[in-house]
Amino acid sequence: MIQVVGLTKDYGARRAIENLTFEARQGEVLGFLGPNGAGKTTTMRILTGYMPPTAGTARVAGYDVVSESLEVRRRVGYLPETVPLYPDMTVFDYLEFMADLRHLPNADDRVAEVLDVVGMAERADSYIGNLSKGMRQRVGLAQALLHKPEVLILDEPTIGLDPAQVVEVRNLIREIGRDRTVLLSTHILSEAQQLCDRVLIINKGHIVAEDTPENLQARLFGAERVVVRVRGDAEGLEERIAAVDGVQDVERKADGGVEFRFAPGQDVRPQVARAVVQAGYDLLEMRPVGVSLEEIFLQLTRDNVGADASNE
């Protein structure tokens, strides 16, 4: 549904993205992961026909984004990073205006339908200027869904939402992603892990890695990480844990927890738990540690894993 080949965009002398090549298949949720300024928004703007690339080609839903821009725009739903809303319109009027622009038959019915989908039906007559940030985000999402687009492009859809709203919006995206192609950008790794079938990591305009979230984590670290916490003074705990067969990289964290790794498939947690208890510690907690995006970036840049990963 999305095919991007050698995409490059310059803003004056600054190169925002360079030679990006990737594709998204039908019914796939593709995550675009990267820090601010990595080129995520630029790429999305090119894919939605907002601006042309400096070099390279992109096809969305079978149409070229430059020469067949209108066809692309008819088939894409887009939620930009700053949600584009008219504060002096009501939610219903705004969505009706967008539905009219897309020449939808029975615009009113369709607007009522998407309002239901995003859970904003009871606020249909509110002025957008009076809505909370989370509600605006949902109105923006409703706008992107109006015409049942084949491809949905969402730029940081959960940014600025409170935790409950984040969960709602994520559920919504997962729902939509069952039968549509979704490209979403985020800088939250856990979000990508929850939502995406595949993740592209982009940094400074380059793709540094591309894989499923699970594989990425496993390949980058080659191990799973666990943190152990005990009651009271944990003097000598590291040595006890390190003595267990299969444990690697034992490290005392600043908050008192002790972290270690083990190779995938060799789960040593039962042995570690037994060793800790036998040594007389009160075991309070043992849990796997998620990998943060920052760590992935550090890893990718430090070990040059990125080059290997994207070549595979």
Binding site: G49, L70, R73, R74, V83, P84, P87, D88, R102, H103
Partner: protein, 248 residues
């Protein structure tokens, strides 16, 4: 065409909930009304000394076009600049709408609002028709009002074009004012002062195409063509400006 109409309709409705549009409409009608009343008083006081007769529609149209130079920039400034500022330009430029349709729709919305306002000012000639015996010159009235409509359409088109260049309403306002002043006065002024090129400069001046003919009851094809070309120029420049935004 449908897209133009959809955009124009939203823009037209927006004028009726925006305070600026009301302020402009109110001030215009107020000033025209005061000048109208003063003119009536003046004419009736000096009726004996003025053998050429009764007041005509120009006591309305003359101040009207003058006020348009000063106030229409406030009507057009936000048309595209505000979309840019609010980020909704991204919405419109990724909707299945051509750039020129967007610009033409914005212009049409503003023009429909001005037509409404112009329609309201018709009460002045109607009143005048009642107090003047045997009624005002109908031909002059039609020609002058066609002139007012064309002048407003041309101003609005130029205003939309300037608005496309800015993302700040105030900057768009002043830049539009400058463009209006140049087209309304400067070309005319220069034509009178410069030794050469007077013909061309006078042709470019909006004033001469209005005061010189339509406001005297004459509709020349060349004047109509002039105003239509200005509208085309404004809409074309606006479309190009929107399109170049994409490349930046």
């Amino acid at each position: 065409m449908r897209n133009i109409w959809i955009i124009a309709r939203r823009e037209y409705k927006l004028y009726f909930i925006s305070p600026i549009a009301y302020v402009i409409a109110f001030l215009m009608l107020l000033i025209i009304g005061i000048l109208f009343a003063l003119a009536l008083v003046y004419y009736s006081n000096n009726a004996f000394m003025m053998p050429m007769g009764a007041p005509d529609v120009t006591i309305v149209t003359q101040p009207f076009v003058f006020l348009m130079v000063l106030s229409l920039p406030a009507l057009t400034m936000r048309l595209l600049a505000d979309e840019q500022r609010m980020g909704t330009m991204e919405l419109l430029l990724t909707a299945p709408v051509r750039d020129w349709e967007l610009v033409a729709g914005k212009w049409l919305g503003a023009f429909l609002f001005m037509l409404t306002l112009i329609g309201v000012t018709l009460i002045f000639p109607i009143m005048l028709n009642g107090v003047v015996d045997p009624g005002i010159d109908q031909g002059l009235m039609v020609a002058a009002y066609v002139g007012v409509i064309l002048v407003s359409a041309a101003f609005l088109a130029l205003g939309v074009a300037v608005s496309a260049l800015f993302s700040n309403n105030l900057a768009a306002f002043f830049a539009t004012l400058v463009v209006f002043v140049v087209f309304w006065w400067m070309f005319d002024l220069a034509a009178g002062i410069l030794p050469a090129g007077g013909e061309i400069l006078r042709y470019l001046s909006m004033q001469s195409h209005f005061y010189g003919s339509m406001n005297r009851g004459i509709i020349n094809l060349s004047d109509v063509v002039y105003f239509l070309s200005l509208i085309a120029l404004g809409l074309f420049t606006g479309s190009v400006a929107v399109e170049t935004r994409r490349w930046r």
